[in-house]
């Protein structure tokens, strides 16, 4: 037997799925009922994407209720590959019931429940296992499961304290005290904390053993701080922190915060007598100032904490009206700048303390203005950079005239070019110390554009950043700036080039891809067959597959290794990634590109419909990293990221919701699937809908709900598109509903297809005997009367054309032009999706929809004409790009930054060439794509 099985495992181990299948078939010929081999064959089939065939085998094995470990293990992989975690639980449950003395089976059953977050069942299994096998770690599995169940949003409010008390009782039953293991200890304290038993928790952490654990394990130390806070031990924490600072020389900022909190403790107590509290606090302030002064004296420039703590103290004094000397703050700032102005972090450190006005501001400004650009060392250079950032932060509206800003930009640029000398001997892969001056100059240019609407500063920013990126090849900051600017300038190929230069990997695909893929369909040339951006969406989305395949395994491992402290965070991480907003924003963009690229048929429509409906039940997490992009704009105006946001509206939860509604509705109309059919055709588990009460409402109602806060996230063009989409679907719904074939017919058709493909019938499907032959039977009701389409549908295309003409001739950035154009194309495609059903002559005839057909034709002709007109104009515009004149215009625009050497005329000419070529490419591609679509759907 072993001799026959081994080659199968070997083939599977080396991923030779084909030979694994062959080897399985060989054995199955002689032993057609060998469960293990069937399971292994199913696994090989799943891995070769032959899902339908795998399903048949999988169901056979499950029906036989396997109980041997080898088969179970193979099936675990099969079911995981198919996303059928529920079946995995059932399978192990059955096996464990057959062999209740099998500890390994118990463990696997527990893990199967852990993978799907079924804490209630997990807790019951752990209870059973602890009784039977007596091992203490089952007791703690039980405690952890109870705690997780108590924290699960699906658990009723009243049950939570019961579960927590159960957890507490269980811990107290443990024969060995929890402090023998840091993670058990952590879990024990957490349970007490959740129950609000702070005194008991305090006792535990302040015990001899508890103190040692907290000193050795950071996560326990964090819990200690929390318990102290919850117990209201602010003053005691302050005293303890003071000791730490003085005796152990601990420079953890949390210790300084503890001292500060204690200093003002009397004032922050609710209902305190403010006057007497002020008195006692004043005394403490003096003591605290002395303490921090001592630290400053000891540390000098070696550590920033004492200096920063003095600033924080003064800030809080001012807040409580306890500041005695009005010059203290500015002199502390000055001192800080003198000590740490040479460090890159100085600006970030001081930002919370420099929101100054009047005299304070004047004093502070004069300190900073003394800093000259002549830098003979890197710290010198940093002092100048920090001074510029700090000065800029406090600039007022009146100081931001285009002339003054241009002057500042040029000053920063000159200092940058000068500063390059300091790094001229660095290896090419190192960052130049002067980089931030280039970034500053670029941000100033962007600010000018934002205030005047004149696009020429954007070209200055782009050209100087292109130069900076040749000097600092590894700077992601410079590249991110270029991506933001190139997107505004409608240059997706250049944005992509720099995005690739950053080398985004793994989980960063979730947090950083928004820089490239936000509203990416605006830039997609999918209609012409160029699927660069479509592929980018696919590649980026891979991380979500590896998350759902891998992360739950580590939750299991953390249970196995008793690292309870990590489990809640692993669960949160998995959930944040699984329900990532960016994931589904990418998905939405992908759908928008796909319909321009592929034939709109039932395969596309049905699949996307099911997927989008799943997404519509999710509660999303926004993991996008916006903070990575530096901001040096004055505090009186918008930040750099907001300034460079396409159309000033960042797609978020509301934006996604609107587009989901639009497309779910459109695909619903086009599809023959209804819910009953969908359930039959679904392979994996249906995802649990989120706890949002909204998901409990009927889908129909949810789809028609219009919410202002969602619409607020749309650009005006997107909002108009939403109105159009709503009007269109509302008009067509009755005709689709009437003409759609009944479920039995649809299922029969699906069954026929499956049978053709696999040779097996669709599982669990019982068709009424006449369904397959009956075809589209006569309906009982009369067809709905055809009514005129609302005028807004046809008018939408007039309005779009009008908008197009405006942006084509106006001052709008190229992004806006592309936005208008691609949304027009999308409106056209949406019309095609929702009217394909009525293109079939028999549908029109059978349902007496002759009148409808004429209405559709009218709108189609009208919209086709508009699309063709826009395409023509765009192609014309493309011709005028990439000419000598257009290049000259860019060079002319860049006059303020052109220098004699390095960043010279030739360099800028090259950038101009890149820009104009890329512009031509996108206009040309979008124009041709539209013409092609107009031909396909005319």
């Amino acid at each position: 037997m072993d001799r026959q099985i081994r080659p199968i495992y070997e083939a599977l181990d080396t991923n030779s799925n084909k030979s694994a299948i062959l080897a399985c078939n060989k054995v199955l010929k002689k032993q057609p009922n060998n469960l293990l081999v069937k399971a292994l064959k199913a696994l090989a089939l799943v891995r070769s994407q032959k899902v339908e065939e795998a399903l048949v085998l999988c169901d056979e094995v499950l029906a036989a209720k396997p109980a041997d470990e080898a088969t179970l293990a193979a099936m675990m992989h099969v079911l995981r590959g198919l996303g059928r975690h529920m079946d995995m639980v059932t399978m192990y449950d059955d096996a464990y019931k057959q062999q209740p003395a099998n500890e390994e089976l118990g463990t696997q059953t527990f893990f199967a429940n852990v993978r799907i977050g079924n804490w209630k069942a997990a807790q019951q299994i752990a209870t059973k296992m602890h009784k039977q096998f007596q091992d203490e770690h089952y007791l703690y599995w039980n405690v952890m499961s109870a705690l997780l169940q108590a924290k699960d949003p699906n658990t009723p409010e009243t049950l939570r304290p019961v579960l927590l008390k159960l957890a507490q009782r269980l811990v107290s039953q443990s024969p060995t005290p929890s402090y023998y293991n840091a993670d058990r200890f952590h879990l024990h304290v957490t349970v007490l904390k959740e129950l609000g038993l702070y005194d008991e928790a305090y006792e535990l952490i302040e015990s001899e053993a508890g103190k040692i654990i907290c000193s050795q394990f950071l996560m326990c130390e964090e819990l200690r701080r929390e318990i102290w806070k919850l117990k209201g031990l602010t003053k005691e924490a302050g005293e303890r922190a003071e000791q730490q600072i003085l005796e152990v020389k601990d420079r953890n900022w949390l210790e300084f915060l503890a001292v500060l909190d204690a200093t003002f403790a009397d004032l922050t107590v609710e209902g305190a007598d403010v006057e007497s509290a002020k008195g006692s606090s004043s005394e403490r302030i003096t003591q605290t100032r002395e303490l921090f002064g001592k630290v400053v004296e000891q540390d000098g420039v070696k550590d920033r904490s004492g200096h920063l703590a003095l600033l924080e103290l003064e800030k809080r004094c001012r807040h409580h009206g306890l500041a005695t000397d009005s010059t203290t703050l500015t002199s502390l700032l000055e001192s800080y700048f003198q000590h740490f102005g040479g460090k890159a972090c100085c600006f970030e450190d001081l930002k919370p303390y420099i929101e100054l006005e009047g005299e304070d501001l004047a004093t502070w400004t004069s300190v900073l203005e003394k800093q000259t650009a002549q830098a003979t060392s890197v710290p010198d250079l940093w002092r100048f950079i920090n001074a510029q950032k700090l000065l800029r932060y406090n600039l007022t509206e009146a100081q931001l005239t285009p002339e003054a800003e241009t002057q500042r930009a040029v000053q920063c640029l000159n200092a940058y070019l000068e500063g390059l000398h300091l790094g001229k001997d660095l290896p090419s892969y190192e960052l130049q110390p002067a980089d931030d001056l280039a970034v500053l100059a670029a941000q100033i240019f962007v600010n000018i554009w934002k205030r005047t609407g004149d696009q020429t500063p954007l070209y200055n920013a782009a050209a100087l950043l292109e130069y900076a990126t040749t000097k600092s090849k590894m700077s992601y900051q410079i590249r991110l700036h270029l991506i933001r600017i190139y997107r505004l300038l409608g240059l997706p190929s250049l944005a992509l080039e720099h995005y690739r230069g950053i080398n985004v990997k793994q989980v960063q695909n979730d947090t950083l891809s928004h820089f490239l893929l936000s509203r990416a369909s605006t830039f997609s040339l999918a209609a012409t067959g160029d699927i660069t951006y479509t592929n980018e969406c696919m590649e980026t989305s891979r991380i979500y597959v590896s998350n759902s395949e891998e992360t739950s395994e580590f939750i299991v491992r953390a249970f196995g290794g008793e690292k309870y402290s990590q489990i809640p965070d692993f669960i949160l991480f998995e959930e944040c990634l699984d329900n990532s907003l960016q994931r589904d924003l990418i998905k939405m963009e992908h759908v928008r590109m796909r319909i321009a690229h592929e034939a709109i048929n039932s395969e596309l429509v049905d699949m996307e419909l099911i997927e989008l409906k799943f997404i519509f039940d999710r509660l999303h997490h926004d993991n996008r990293d916006f903070s990575i992009l530096a901001n040096y704009q004055p505090r009186c105006g918008a930040s750099f990221i907001d300034q460079t946001e396409s159309l000033e509206k960042t797609p978020g939860f509301g934006w996604l919701w609107v587009f989901l509604k639009i497309y779910i509705k459109a695909f619903q109309l086009a599809s023959d699937l209804d819910d009953t059919v969908e359930d039959k055709l679904l392979i994996g588990d249906r995802p649990k809908p989120s706890n949002d009460p909204e998901t409990k409402l009927p889908l129909k109602e949810r789809l028609t709900k219009r919410k202002q806060e969602e619409i607020n996230e749309l650009s005006s063009d997107e909002a108009a598109f939403y109105d159009y989409a709503s009007a269109l679907s509302e008009w067509l719904t009755p005709y689709h509903d009437y003409a759609r074939p009944p479920p039995s017919v649809v299922l029969a058709e699906a069954a026929k297809l499956t049978e053709q493909k696999t040779g097996h019938t669709l599982k669990g499907l019982e068709l009424p005997p006449d369904a397959a032959t009956n075809g589209n039977g006569k309906k009982d009701e009369e067809p709905p009367a055809v009514v005129e389409p609302p005028a807004s549908i046809s008018k939408h295309f007039d309005d779009v054309l009008q908008r197009f003409k405006e942006v084509l001739d106006g001052k709008a950035v190229p992004f806006e032009l592309l936005h208008v154009v691609t949304l027009a194309q999308e409106a056209y495609l949406l019309f095609a999706i929702e009217t394909t059903r009525f293109k079939t002559a028999s549908v029109i005839k059978q349902n007496k929809f002759g009148g409808l057909s004429q209405h559709i034709k009218d709108i189609r002709n009208k919209s086709t004409a508009v699309i063709n007109e826009m395409s023509g104009a765009l192609l014309n515009r493309a011709e005028s790009e990439a000419t000598q004149e257009s290049r000259k215009a860019v060079i002319e625009a860049c006059k303020p930054i052109i220098h004699e050497s390095g960043l010279d005329h030739d360099f800028v000419l090259n950038v101009a060439k890149k820009i104009t070529d890329a512009r031509k490419q996108i206009y040309d591609g979008i124009g041709k794509g539209m013409a092609k679509l107009a031909k396909t759907y005319a």
Partner: protein, 183 residues
């Protein structure tokens, strides 16, 4: 000066500005989770008062007998927070954990032979080259000799449990082993 706290799984959403650096690799999710699920006490973060991550360290404990030691798998500090003693605090902390929690005899780490700044820093902290490991890294294409770029130094520092300094040697740079001879 910073806030030192434990490394959490959700920190993977926040470490971009640290990882977009030539010397720092962004690994698969499973890499980080496998460390957190075994040695959560050897992974830490330092952040600014404003809550921005400055850097992180990921370590593990391995070896038995006289080979029992702490290992620094990854240590990275964002460029804007360098020269502030962040790495020094991480290393001191990891040495303490290796000693107290795992009773290790030394701490070791690998570094590219061409990462001169890092080598100098570790030497300043009392680490010395124990051996040179051939072809330990992939090529970065920086223009150094291929051998220097792909080879790594195994650097070590003895802990109090090794008072005789048996875990280090003075001629480590001359001892060359191949990558498959090291764990």
């Amino acid at each position: 000066m910073s806030v030192t706290r434990s490394f959490k799984a959700t920190d993977l959403f926040k470490f971009n500005h640290i990882n977009l650096d030539l010397w720092t690799e962004t690994y698969a999710i499973s890499f980080y989770l496998s460390y957190l699920s075994r040695w959560p006490d050897m992974c830490a973060v330092q952040e600014t008062p404003q809550g921005r991550m400055m850097g992180y360290v990921i370590g593990k404990a391995e070896g038995t007998g006289t080979e029992r030691h702490g290992h620094v798998t990854a240590l990275s500090v964002a460029p804007e927070y360098r020269r502030l003693g962040v790495s020094r605090r991480f290393m001191a902390w990891l040495e303490k954990v290796s000693d107290e929690n795992y009773r290790g005899l030394f701490v070791d780490l690998y570094v590219r032979c061409v990462n001169f700044a890092a080598i100098k820093m570790y030497e300043g902290m009392g680490y010395s080259v124990y051996r040179r490991v051939r072809e330990y890294y992939s090529n970065l294409g920086l223009g150094h000799s291929v051998r220097d770029e792909e080879d790594g130094f195994d650097m070590r520092k003895p802990l109090p449990r090794d008072p005789m300094r048996r875990s280090v040697r003075s001629n480590g740079r001359d001892i060359v082993v191949s990558a498959n001879e090291v764990p």
